[in-house]
């Protein structure tokens, strides 16, 4: 580890893992061995986008629609991020949707009825999630009740709690500008690009440093070409996203006239203001992604979550406090549900007894599983929630554009979830068969 040993990443060493070709071959071998990760979801996403773009002839692949997609998908994605922690344990949380609703109700009542300043109302909302998770976690981990039953009870119970907080049939409006801005406002164009640059540079720097440190320690790491390829692909992928979102788009709501921007004498004619820029909600998702990924993959807590999900008995014998890991995961899940509740309230400008209800939870579970998180525990990443959430949002957004039958949407989403679960089950069989 002396200074002389620090070589340029480009110089192949004995331990070098080889270039792009080798990396691709290794990846292919891993996929064949059952470690499919989010590959099916990414492939599915590309197919779906292509399909809808062709079938729909234009409207699907537009800046406006891309922004809609994000608007529809964000809360589900955040909910799914929380569910990843619970699914990693091999558990389930059916109550996350109504945990979101209940926390949102606390937020709304706090703001209106009690006139709390928004930071306090927000803290109360997040604490609500935390406490719900704590109770569920205690019941599952200490009493040993199956999480399916505990969270089914919470699913029903929280629905009631929410009604009690809001009051029968009521809808509480949200007037706070900050909270509304999260889902309704966009960054200035330059901020979007700055964020893009920061993300790419941050990713490049962190991964480069890791490779460098491994080389310095004489361990094999990915080669410079693989590193560069990853950085460039990420830059292109996110660049397309930012470019689309920075394009001009207008909100055309049902009942309002689609507006012509410029009249012949070059004057605006009764126009809604031009919208452009990356929605602020994207920043929320990004921060959660980075923070939670760090927690899962770089800390011993995260390692222990995977261990408990992979082999609970082995984890216990290794001295891991299994029940505190479980309780913590349920708390993380419900707290993220509360964050999703804030996003839902912000999106709808209000909280009603249906907030977080209906298919919200099923979409979120679907998102996590479609993204590649295993229902059997032990396998999954936070980013899966994003990929899977986008798949769910694309279906929810694309299908209405080509068919008016809402029944089809449920059937298709259900079908996609089943396909994802089958891929999960098959890859699990495959990876246990490739050993021995």
């Amino acid at each position: 580890m002396s200074a002389t040993q620090v070589t340029d990443v480009d110089i192949p060493e004995a331990g070098d893992t080889g270039g792009l070709g080798k990396a691709l071959r290794d990846y292919f071998i891993r996929v064949k061995g059952g470690e499919v990760g989010s590959l099916p979801a990414v492939a599915g996403l590309i197919v779906l986008i292509a399909l809808f773009s062709i079938l729909q002839g234009g409207t699907f692949f537009t800046a406006l629609n891309f922004a809609n997609l994000i608007n529809q998908g964000t809360a589900v994605i955040v909910l799914a991020m929380g569910l990843v922690f619970v699914l990693l344990l091999g558990e389930i949380d059916l109550s996350a949707g109504f945990a979101a609703g209940t926390a949102a109700a606390v937020l709304a009542v706090g703001l209106t009825k009690y006139g709390l300043p928004w930071p306090l109302a927000l803290i109360a909302c997040l604490l609500t999630g935390l406490v719900i998770g704590l109770i569920i976690g205690l019941l599952v981990a200490r009493l040993g009740i199956p999480s399916f039953v505990v969270t089914l009870a919470a699913f029903l119970g929280l629905q009631g709690v929410m009604l009690l907080i809001i009051g029968e049939g009521g809808t509480i409006g949200i007037q706070n500008d900050f909270l509304l801005a999260i889902m309704n406002r966009n960054m200035p164009v330059w901020t979007g690009w700055l964020l893009w640059l920061l993300v790419i540079l941050g990713y490049a720097f962190v991964t480069f440093r890791a490779i460098r440190a491994r080389k310095a320690a004489g361990l094999s790491g990915s080669s410079a070409s693989v590193w560069a390829a990853k950085v460039v692909s990420l830059a292109i992928l996110l660049g397309v996203g930012v470019y689309l979102l920075n394009g001009e788009r207008q909100i055309v709501r049902a009942g309002k006239q689609s507006c012509v921007i410029m009249g012949p004498p070059n004057e605006p004619v009764g126009c809604i203001p031009i919208l452009q820029g990356v929605p602020w909600a994207v920043l929320v998702v990004l921060l959660l992604l980075v923070g939670l990924t760090f927690l899962l993959s770089r800390t011993s807590f995260g390692r222990h979550v995977y261990a408990v999900g992979g082999n609970t008995e082995a984890a216990r014998r290794a001295g891991i406090k299994v029940s505190s890991i479980k309780i913590t995961c349920f708390m993380i899940c419900s707290t993220l549900a509360a964050v999703a509740g804030v996003l839902l309230a912000s999106r709808d400008n209000s909280v009603s007894p249906t907030t977080g209800g209906a298919q919200t939870l099923l979409f979120a579970v679907g998102a996590a599983v479609i993204g590649g998180t295993s229902l059997f525990g032990g396998r999954g990443r936070v980013v899966d929630a994003i990929v899977g959430g986008l798949v769910v949002a694309v279906i929810a957004n694309g299908l209405p554009l080509i068919t008016s039958q809402s029944g089809i949407q449920y059937v298709v989403t259900g079908g996609v979830l089943l396909v994802a679960a089958s891929v999960d089950a098959l890859s699990r069989r495959r990876s246990s068969a490739s050993g021995r």
Partner: protein, 262 residues
């Protein structure tokens, strides 16, 4: 041949579960640099003896000496602190984690709160190299992709990672084929040659005679004899296992008569 000073010395230990007197005044020694085989019929009390050593339960009475002085072992942690590690029959590995992660599970190296993957990987490699393990393609392989013998190797390597002095192996070859059994036995021998004390529980006489320096035979919870491997034959050991006595070694006839009644 004279034995080195034992690292572990049990004298007259007893253990009962309710009315069942499982271990009756058992004497047992383990020596550094030696493989001590622990044999006995099903239900003879091998696992009970090992669990007592590992602190999973404590003995009711008798002396437990480690490195010559009385040790207080009533919890697995206390055994670990002394340098005692157990590799259980079911291995207890996490399939979804890689070799390094499994070896350090529960005792991860960290820099601040961040896992120190580099140090862990290097130490894992050093340990495997020290055991001359060459069958693993990569320490970053998931355990699910390993063969039975490789899994056993990982479990054993995990046990020796912690400067352990005594490694206990519960039937490490029971589920393995011929080639992999050979591999694991070589590894067991190497542990002892590296200076560790090894206790090997096995039902397979061939394995026992291949690697063990001494053999301890439990019979109905009593220690029939702990003998040098070279002083006995297969047949004698089988006789000790099945009847507690062979020629002039083993339990006295009157004790046997009492034991069978009790």
């Amino acid at each position: 041949m004279t034995n080195p000073a034992p690292i572990l010395e049990l004298r007259g230990v007893n253990k009962s579960f309710g009315a069942v007197h499982v271990l009756r005044g058992v004497d047992f020694n383990a020596y550094p640099g030696q493989v001590s085989a622990l044999v006995g019929d099903n239900g003879a009390g091998k696992s009970t003896l090992i669990k007592g050593v590992a602190g999973i339960h404590s003995f009711d009475s008798g002396e437990y000496l480690f490195e010559g002085s009385p040790a207080n072992v009533h919890a697995p942690r206390q055994a670990n602190a002394l340098g005692i590690e157990v590799v259980y029959q079911d291995l207890a590995l996490c399939d979804n984690l890689d070799v390094v992660h499994n070896m350090f599970l529960g005792r991860e190296e960290k820099q601040g709160v961040i896992l120190d993957e580099i140090t862990m990987e290097r130490r894992a490699k050093e340990t495997l190299a020290g055991l001359s393990v060459r069958t693993l393609k990569s320490v970053r392989q998931q355990v699910s992709s390993l063969s039975g013998g490789q899994r056993q190797t990982v479990a054993i390597a995990r046990a020796v990672l912690w400067n352990s002095k005594l490694v206990i192996l519960d039937e490490p070859t029971a589920a393995l084929g011929v080639a992999q059994t050979e591999q694991v036995l070589k590894l067991v021998r190497r542990l002892a040659d590296n200076g560790l004390a090894v206790i090997l529980i096995s039902h397979n006489m061939n394995d026992v005679f291949e690697v063990a320096d001494n053999i301890a035979c439990l019979y109905l919870g009593m220690m029939a004899a702990q003998v040098h491997t070279k002083d006995v034959t297969h047949g004698q050991v089988v006789e000790l296992i099945t009847s507690g006595r062979s020629g002039d070694i083993g339990l006295q006839p009157e004790i046997l008569a009492n034991g069978a009644v009790a």
